[in-house]
Symmetry: C2
C-alpha cells in the first residue's frame, strides 16, 4: 500500500499525478490519494469577499484561521472542486475512484481545537471560533471496504471531531496518520518543489536523504508549509512507515519519480 499526498499550491500538475496513479493502479498496485487545496481556497475566499486569515503560533507554525464561513469555503474547494476534479480525471482514465472527506464515515477523526494562540505584532493572543484539529484516528474499515471492492479512495480534509463537527486538519499530517494506520510501505508527499531544500528556493540545494532517526533536525531547513511535511514525515516514520518521500508534482510521472528516489527520501 502506498499513500500519495498531493498538495494544493500553484504549479501542481493534477493531470500528471492522475495519469501516473492510474497507470500504477491498473498494473495492480494499491494506492490511496490524499489531496490539499490551499491555493485555490485562498483565491475563492478572496473572490467571495472573505479573504483567508493566517495565524502564526508561538512555536512558529503558520495555519489558516478557520471560522465557520471559511470552513464552508474550504469544503467547497477541497471537497467540491478539487476532489471531484481528481475523481473525474481518474474516471476518465478508467479508474473507479471514490472521493471522500474525513467527515464521511469519520475517516479522519480528532479533537476540535476551538481556540488558537497566535502571535500578532509580537504579542500572543487567543483567537476563538476556530474549526481546526489534528487527526488522531483513521477509519481504516471504510477504506479497506472500498479498496477490497476495487475502488480507489481519494481523500481530503476536513476531518470530523469526536462530536461530529467539521475541523480543518493539515493534509500532510492526515496522510501520515493514514499511512501509519494502513501500515503503508511508503508515504509520498508531493508538492511544487523538488523536495526539502537546504537553501529555499534554490532547487540545486535539494537534500537527497534524511536518516529516519533524525527527521526533526531537518525542521530548520523547512519553510512555511514544508514544516508540516517534515513533521508528518517524522510521525509516519515513528509510526512504522519505512519510506517517506518529498517529491515534485509539477510534471512528468510524479509518483514513479518519487518512488525511484527523486526528491528527498526519509528512510
Amino acid at each position: 500500500m502506498i499513500v500519495v499526498k498531493v498538495g494544493g499550491s500553484a504549479g501542481i500538475d493534477y493531470d500528471a499525478v492522475c495519469a501516473d496513479l492510474a497507470a500504477r493502479w491498473k498494473a495492480g498496485e494499491r494506492l490511496i490519494l490524499v489531496h490539499g487545496g490551499s491555493g485555490e481556497t485562498n483565491r475563492v475566499a478572496e473572490a467571495l469577499g472573505h479573504p483567508p486569515r493566517f495565524v502564526t503560533s508561538p512555536s512558529g507554525y503558520t495555519s489558516r484561521f478557520t471560522d465557520r464561513e471559511t470552513l464552508e469555503i474550504f469544503e467547497m474547494v477541497y471537497c467540491g472542486k478539487i476532489n471531484k476534479g481528481i475523481v473525474e480525471r481518474l474516471q476518465r482514465l478508467g479508474v473507479n475512484a471514490v472521493g471522500l472527506s474525513g467527515l464521511d464515515g469519520r475517516i479522519f477523526e480528532g479533537r476540535h481545537k476551538d481556540s488558537v494562540r497566535a502571535v500578532e505584532n509580537g504579542k500572543t493572543r487567543v483567537l476563538r471560533g476556530d474549526h481546526t484539529g489534528t487527526v488522531e484516528r483513521v477509519n481504516t474499515d471504510l477504506i479497506e471496504l472500498l479498496l477490497g471492492a476495487g475502488y480507489l479512495p481519494v481523500l481530503t480534509p476536513p476531518a470530523s471531531s469526536y462530536e461530529g463537527v467539521a475541523i480543518n486538519v493539515d493534509g500532510d499530517r492526515a496522510a501520515a496518520a493514514l499511512a501509519v494506520a494502513l501500515k503503508a510501505e511508503a508515504l509520498l508527499l508531493l508538492s511544487n518543489v523538488p523536495g526539502l531544500l537546504r537553501t529555499y528556493p534554490d532547487e540545486s540545494s535539494l537534500i537527497r536523504q534524511i536518516p529516519a532517526n533524525d527527521v526533526e533536525t531537518y525542521l530548520e531547513f523547512a519553510q512555511d508549509r514544508m514544516k508540516k511535511k517534515v513533521l508528518g514525515a517524522a510521525e509516519a516514520v515513528a509510526g512504522g512507515v519505512q519510506r517517506v518521500i518529498f517529491g515534485d508534482a509539477r510534471a512528468g510521472q510524479p509518483i514513479t519519480a518519487a518512488l525511484s528516489g527523486a526528491g528527498t527520501v526519509v528512510s
Copy 2:
C-alpha cells in the same frame, strides 16, 4: 428502503430533515438521502462573477446551462458546501453518513449531452459546451456495500458520463432512478412547497392524490422545477416504486409527515 430527495431551494430546513432522518435511521429504517443545491449555486455563481444561465427547451423544460466553469461552481456547492454540511449534521446526530456524488464510483451514470436546444426570443438555438445528461444507470453495488456496513449514503449530482465526464443531472430524476434500481418502497421528493398545487402558489390548492396510471396528466399543474418532480414520479412509478410523495421540507418532521400522507401522494 426509502429514498428521500431534498431540494436546494430557499426555505428548506436541513436541520429538520436530518433530525427526522437520524431518528428513523436509528430506529432501524434503511434510508438514502439525495440532495440538491440549486439556490445556493445561483448565489455563489453570482458572487464569483459567473451568473447562472437558464435555458428553456422547445418542450418547455427549464434547465441550467452548465459550461465547465459552471460545473465547477456546481460541484463546489453541491458536493462541497451542501453535501458536507448534511454529512456533518448527521455525524453530530450520531449517524455515520457518507457523502458521495454520482461521479464517485460512478454511482449515477448516463449519456453526456454536449448541446442543448434552447428557445430564446421565440427562436430555437443550439448551444454547445453543455455538461448535462440524464441518469441511466445506478451503481447499486457501491450503495449496498455502504449500507451493509452501516453507513448512510448522502448522494448528490453531478453524475458521470459513460466516458467519465462530470455531467449535471436533475436530482429528482436521479433519485427516481435510484429508487427504481434499489426497488425502494417509497420515494419522497421534498421541497419548499406542501406538494403539487393545482393553482400555484396557493397552498390550499394542494392535490392530495394522483393515481399511479395518470401521473403525466398532472404535468399541466406543475411549474418550473416541479415539472421534473412529476416526471421523476412518473418514472419511479413506471419502474415499480409503489409510493412517490411530494412533501414539505420547510419545518417539522418532513420525512415522517410525508410518509404519513401529508403532501401529494402518487400511488
